[in-house]
Symmetry: C2
Subunit: 110 residues, 2 copies
């Protein structure tokens, strides 16, 4: 079990795809935001505003990242990055418990 | 939009009914716990340990409280109490976004 300490949590859920994807927004002391989300089985497409780091907490998702034709599976403890202003496709076979960090300043340079 | 400030959030989701009901645990400075949860459409039964106050944040649920034969609808902004060590039935027609407060010392006396 891991925790975020000294944070603010927005009470209202963020709801997507008719509730098959939901998340709660967590705001850190430095103003940075993450969402803790849960996806039921399904196929989803997401558009990013800011760049994102998606970290799998539980379950798994198959992901096709922008500019790629390949699908890759990410499981608990694994993560992937998505550039700003892009689109990525997901397939969740059972469920996915995830944490999404928003990088307002963009992804770190390689 | 309302917030919980200066709290700890457990990252891992609590998952019930195959993911149709999920929640995140929020721990307050005084050690008290609440969960922020989301229910998709369905019929559910829950057993309580501690007494609970269920507050609707969004959506609605029909509830049959312990010892009652009547169903009552609760919508955003409304709440109901459930005694410790009891069982209650819920029907969610669309979705329910809720906050559940656990009262380790039992419900306040009437």
């Amino acid at each position: 079990m891991s925790e975020f300490n000294n944070v603010t949590v927005v009470r209202e859920a963020n709801v997507y795809f008719g509730g098959k994807v939901t998340s709660r927004t967590v705001i850190f002391e430095d103003g940075k935001k993450k969402t803790l989300g849960f996806m039921l089985a399904g196929e989803y497409s997401f558009d990013t505003g800011a760049a994102e780091i998606m970290e799998m907490i539980g379950g798994a998702m198959d992901v096709k990242l922008p500019g790629s034709d390949d699908w890759k599976t990410f499981k608990a403890g694994e993560s992937f990055e998505v550039p700003a202003d892009s689109k990525f496709d997901l397939v969740v076979k059972e469920y996915a418990d995830y944490c999404c960090a928003y990088l307002e300043d963009g992804l770190p340079a390689c």
